[in-house]
Subunit: 293 residues, 5 copies
């Protein structure tokens, strides 16, 4: 995720970090070139049909409809992903406090928390589809990487530890409710990761955008011949740019420029749980070149 | 559901798998043909009235309104269906963990989980209105297919097993809350399956789309006579395409190209519950030709 | 509610069952007639002022705004009503299971469920403002029709039965939570039934629609004189049609064509509770001429 | 709140009760007069610049954006306020039932309910900022009007009564959960009452509306000179009307024509609680001249 | 937050307090000046190309899409922030009542409440990124400012106090649920504070707005040459104004004119808890020059 303080005019207009411009530039140039060719043919070779701009209005409305919908849906996926991780942060903190209240002994209490931290990292690794186990130290010392579903295996182990350590029904009830809440947030994240936006929307949006950019030069020949390629470039920037942004936001757990900073959130949880584990809290993650992983 | 990694330009423009184009092509050709006939009559037979494009703006606005609303409503149904199944996944995992914490003996614990798995498959079969019992092995060994409402019968059996096995009030309370949460997600799915979008919207959308496609040629005669059929084809593609997509998404449990992958989700639950049943987890379902059932 | 399988083209274009066309036809004809008069006066009597279509754009935008808002609000009321009844279905099933788990004896258990079924029917009767007690057999044998608030009286009786039969605190807690959840869904339904959409929106929408239909002919005189009445008829169909639909959906518990099928939902609950009452389940309600009551 | 059954055409077009027309008439007349002056100057004094209608499109779009957003936000505040009061109704009924289940003696049970009813009225008085204690009889006989926060004081007293009367932990847990749910709905209402929509939106909306109404005559001079004032009046009616409606809905607890009927809701609760207090239920409040307070 | 009663016409049109006009004036003047230069060059130096206004329609649609989305997202962040603080108010009140019900002794009860109040202030300080400890008296007398995460440290201390003072499982369960609810609201606030709207939207919105303002003069040359700078100024006011407002609302915890009044909300909680601490309630905070901090 890009973290920038309120930026000045210059950065807003010319920043490329965090911008989608570099990635969509080839497409913008391609449709602009086509527009230029249309203009040149119309001017020097043979007169092409000049369309009225009015019928394009309905086109623009349809495009807004598609892009607006897709943008909203993608942003909601992104924000729901963030909300679920916020829920995980709150649940992990509450789990630590619940353990303090309900589990009388220190060793099993810390065991539960360490397994929960392992779960969190395994959940992150699972969502990001990281192959190798990354550099994070395993908190509990157990290895879940061979399990069919590593995060579930870690949470199962935490559950078994709770079942062993709980002295009475209240403890069992309170801690199993907490673990169920964590499992719900986990399943929510997996839902977002496993269920992309319906593919058919991508088809509709891209095809309509291309058709629009290819036909619009014929509508501009009359009034704005020489400026047509520039106009097409701007329109392509706006529409391809939005399409690209929504593509990234729709996959909120990816390691992209607009992906959620899962590493930093996991670290936040580690900092919050450090006092409960009687260890020194690690430092918070800082953005590297405006990018927080 | 169609599962495709980020596809190249070529696939986006010409893919037919997952596209609605094949299904709506006849309608697109029909209205294009009508447009062509209008153009030919106007050019060769007798002059037809040329309409101004401006009054069509309000038409386009109304169409966007209808289609935009319908699209949002359909997508929300689809996503709510997915969310309810995500809730089911989380609840099944939490049920397994709760059983581990609250039920001291192995046999009744596994009995509850097997009945819950049967419930899940019967729920899926019920939502998809599959007649015959499909190939899924019955987990519990009991046959609920003759019950008035098979999924409810399976959940009732699980409830009776809980009532028998629970050693104290905490266990009864915790497990009955979990079963109630499952019942809530089940009723939510049945609500979506049993209550389609109001039929009157389909009427309004289709009639308005047809009227629009039949009248728009008269507005294009002036400026874009020869290109009119192409224009009409594009507009028809956009509007009929969106209408078709929303039709599929509004029935999220159907076995269509955009339906939810209920088989795969059930398998995910089986994988998650395998360690609790002391069996080897089955493999995750893979898409067949980009399609995940 | 109208229940139709995916219908063919013919039904979509010419169906009147479930369509609002019959009801709004007089209004459509009236404004079309006015448009015809304007055209005739302009052509044969005296030249009327010809307006430019452009200023009507803002009109159309405002209308879309009003109608779009009203449509969304009405649909949300309808869908929230359905969701609350889905919640009731889930709660009734969960109540039956909770009774099985927490109440040791059969007689008081069935008493609670029968009172809950009576509540459900009284709730339905209350929402639909049916005067006379309808044909539904009273399950519990008690008569609540003289109470100040019949559904609440039935639920109070169920609550008293729970208080008497509950053997311990867990049973009291679990069953009172269930009854509270039912009461919440009940109050939600009553909220929708008692609080219509603000009346002022109806005024704004109808007045703006009429003004628009009366003024639009002057904008069409220039280009589309003879086709003006047809155009006005189409626009009136679209806007009056949407206004009429939203009117029905905004009252989701009415016995209208788009009202919710409360009878069928109550029957579903009866089917679900039959095994718990040791009786044969009644048959599910079927649509009568596509209409499910 | 205005309560009208489905009204006829005549009422819809000419009703003033519940309409915002009377309040915005001066502003409509003012901008129409200005438009008339522009037309007269253009016709008789000196030719004024005639603007093209096209650039106004973006203006209209911006206005729709502002007004649409403000309308949605205001309606959501109104509907959330209603939902919170529906929650209060459900919670009060559930509180009465919980008291019946968990509190064995009659006197403290009725004490809790009476304090809760006092809370409800004090909450209503607090939201409406009524100075003097209104005519409602104090149910509990205690006077909370001198407390720093009267509704909280009443709820604190109910809480103390619960703490005294509860025979065991289950009762304490159940009843304190119920009171917490009431407190949540209360805080929600106070949030809406204390946090208006950001003031800056009012500025943007009003300034943009005025600018639009002042400039639009110059765009209409060409085609619709004589009809310009009427057009401006209609546009002003639509936009000022919507702005006024949203102003009222954004303050849902006010005693305005579109405010929520808090008196009637409080009465509904009193009717629901009467059987638990062994008193005769008071009559439901009826609308006075279509207005329900 | 600006708190103004319904203001008169004059204030609405010319108020600068709470308006964004002063901040965006330089940008408005800059683009107006550019427009003026274009007009002058076109009139006195050389004829510039005159564009048709129609292609700008799609531009305006795209801008509305971007700004409308951003406005909605920012307002939802603002309102969610407010809702979370309302949740905190309700939870603090409920915590005080729960302590009264479940904790038999006065001293530990007040200890818990004082630690909770410290948490609330530290949470506010954390959200607003205030460096120095502000003037608020520390309620509990403990110093958490050196902790890695001060609000969490205060809540941990409250949790320990609960664990010590709770006489039975019911008390532990009830109070730990309350603290978990507080932790959830806290994590929600931190989520909003730590996760800005995706930066790429700022880029898209600002770049598109500037491009639009720079190109629109060419479209107005034909019809509205001399009025072009005024038009551009108005359009810039509308679009830059909205962009600026959304920027502020998207950071709801900042000490800006549209930020949430966290000081006043904390004071409300102190007033609500005063009776439970047996102290005199402090006075409610009042707006200073319409501004409530």
């Amino acid at each position: 995720m890009i973290i920038r303080e309120k930026t000045g005019l210059f950065e807003l207009l010319f920043a490329t970090k965090g911008s989608v411009l570099p990635r969509i530039l080839p497409r913008i140039l391609a449709v602009s070139l086509l527009a230029l060719i249309v203009v040149l043919i119309d001017g020097w070779v043979t007169s092409l049909p000049h369309l009225d701009a009015a019928p394009f209005a309905v086109f623009g409305i349809a495009l807004s409809l598609f892009l607006g919908f897709r943008n909203n849906a993608a942003y909601e996926r992104w924000w729901e992903g963030r909300r679920l991780w916020g829920q995980l942060v709150a649940d992990m903190r509450a789990l630590a406090r619940d353990c303090r209240v309900f589990l009388p002994e220190d060793a099993p209490r810390q065991k539960v928390l360490k397994l929960a931290l392992d779960f969190l990292h395994l959940h992150r690794i699972n969502l990001r589809r990281l192959k190798a186990r990354d550099s994070t130290q395993a908190w509990s010392g157990e290895d879940f990487s061979q399990a069919d579903h590593p995060p579930c295996a870690a949470l199962n182990a935490a559950n078994v530890a709770v079942a062993k350590a709980a002295p009475d029904g209240f403890a069992r009830k309170a801690l199993s409710e907490r673990l169920a809440s964590i499992a719900l947030a986990q399943a929510g994240c997996e839902r977002i990761a496993a269920t992309p936006l319906p593919y058919v929307y991508s088809l509709l949006v891209f095809r309509t955008t291309y058709l629009y950019c290819l036909l619009i030069p014929f509508a501009l020949l009359e009034d704005a011949a020489w400026i047509t390629p520039i106009f097409v470039a701007i329109i392509a920037y706006v529409f391809f740019g939005l399409a690209e942004v929504t593509e990234e936001l729709a996959h909120p757990f990816g390691e992209t420029v607009n992906g959620l900073p899962l590493d930093a959130i996991c670290r936040t949880v580690e900092i919050s749980l450090a006092p409960h584990l009687d260890i020194k809290a690690p430092p918070a993650l800082q953005p590297q070149g405006f990018y927080l992983s």
